[in-house]
Amino acid sequence: MAFLDVQHVTKRFGGLTAVADVSFQMEQGEIVGLIGPNGAGKTTLFNLIAGTFPFDEGRIVFDGEPLNGLKPYHVCRRGIARTFQITRPFLEMTCYENVVVGFIGRDGFTGETPERRRRAEEILKLVGLDEFLHTQARHLNLINKKKLEIARALATRPKLILLDEVLGGLNTGEMVQALDLIRAIRDRFGVTVLWIEHVMGALMQVVERLLVLDGGRLICQGDPQTVVRDPRVIEAYLGEADD
């Protein structure tokens, strides 16, 4: 039984089919990249898995249990966390408080124990925000906001994390930091990663498998080197970029 099993999932917005009959599987501990041209349905697929909106057809089974019809906070408590393309930390709260909200969401508000405080500090140290513990999130720069989103996601003790364009807007040095962080998420926390990215060069360094969406359909999946040479992918996505 696959860890994440997406079976024939379809989502329509009025006459537009944003995600059409998509099926794929992920094993625990994998890092999988999700690519495709703009408007291919990548973020919509994330929204369906995270429960932001319901899907019209199909089934998503996560860790042995179906996710159909669950609210986002239930999906989170099942162990799926996500970050956003445009970062959305709680701007009027400190980094520490942002992480604490992740704890509260996952465990209910049971109080602030020294154990929890230590864990919050540990998570912020791992992502490299330990010096900004009590800085309000709105004072952070882009890379640090992205790190904070990942820290908050980790606070919910996810088994699967959905990353949406983590690298967008970062410079080369910052990208290296971000890639290290994504590897650490998997290696140190054992979290499975599904990752939307446009920066192909960086993505190829880390992912073990690629999924390609185009026009809402999953047109190709498999080993990254094979996938990027696939004529369908080149036509839909890479060919377009090379023009």
């Binding site: 909200v101 969401g105 508000f109 908050r152």
Partner: protein
């Protein structure tokens, strides 16, 4: 100079009372973006309850007050669940529904409690010689202290506790809070009820000074809205500063110009502040 101190003290006390009466509105606006037009009616309801429990049931005053606030909290939970939840996503509906609720409640009070003012017993009697200058009613001072304590407790709750962190997260980004596992529907219910309980706390604290009647709610709601707009929609700090500013300006204006113009000065300061800062003293700019 002595007079000035008296007016200032009066204004400060009244300001804290204004802030206390407006905090519930501000909290609900900040978290849910819902304006509770029935705020004043919940204040009045708690005033009636505390009078009823103390006089008719003979309960000790603190017990009567706590019971009144508790009942209004439960009432708030019910209002949120039955009237506000179906309107999620359209702020206009909640506005109309709470407005209708306010009219229904006013008439219900008239029917049940009658048109005459009612008040719970005073907690204390007599007066205190303040600053060696003038005498001030002990009940007013006690209500002022209780009001200040409630305001301080609310700030502690919102700024320091885990519940407060969750509430602030929902207020800042409801969808994101939901993504990190916060059940925002339940937070809404609790926050709305907490806002109602704050109205009730103001009601039980102030009813000994200002007896309640079925239409007393109109003035309370109106002042609360002025304070909330003055301080900035949804800002608790703004609510306190706005309340005190309004109280002081009203009292100094009434004392030195004419008491007939008391409300004129209140609205004058509102117009002036909004001219310079359209989103209120502590208001966040809408993006």
């Amino acid at each position: 100079m002595d007079d000035f101190l008296l007016y200032l003290t009066n204004g400060l006390l009244l300001g804290v009372i204004y802030a206390l009466s407006a905090l519930g509105v501000s909290l609900i606006v900040g978290i849910m973006n819902v304006i509770n037009f029935a705020h004043g009616e919940l204040y009045v309801l708690a005033g009636y309850f505390s009078a009823l429990f103390a006089h008719a049931l003979g309960l000790p005053i603190p017990v009567a007050m706590a019971l009144a606030v508790g009942l209004v909290f439960v009432f708030g939970l019910l209002i949120e669940r039955t009237l506000i939840q179906p309107t999620y996503g359209n702020d206009m509906y909640s506005l109309i529904i709470t407005f209708i609720l306010s009219i229904v409640l006013q008439n219900a009070y008239l029917f049940i409690f009658g048109p005459y003012p009612q008040k719970p017993p005073n907690w204390v009697t007599g007066s205190t010689h303040l600053f060696g200058l003038f005498y001030y009613g002990n009940q007013r001072l006690a209500s002022f202290l209780a009001g200040a304590a409630v305001i301080a407790l609310l700030f502690l709750l919102i700024k320091k506790t885990w519940f407060g962190k969750m509430v602030r997260a929902v207020a800042q980004d409801r969808e994101m809070a939901s993504m990190v596992g916060v059940n925002s529907t339940r937070v809404n219910m609790l926050s709305f009820a907490l806002g109602c309980a704050l109205a009730a706390a103001a009601g039980v604290i102030l009813a000994p000074i200002f007896p309640v009647n079925p239409t007393a709610s109109v003035g309370i709601s109106l002042t609360a809205f002025v304070v909330v707009v003055l301080g900035g929609m949804g800002s608790l700090e703004g609510c306190v500063v706005g309340g005190i500013l309004l109280g002081v300006v009203q009292n100094l204006g009434a004392a030195y110009v004419s008491s007939g113009y008391k409300h004129f000065f209140g609205f004058l300061i509102l117009v002036l502040v909004l001219t310079v800062r359209p989103s209120g003293l502590f208001g966040r700019k809408e993006i």
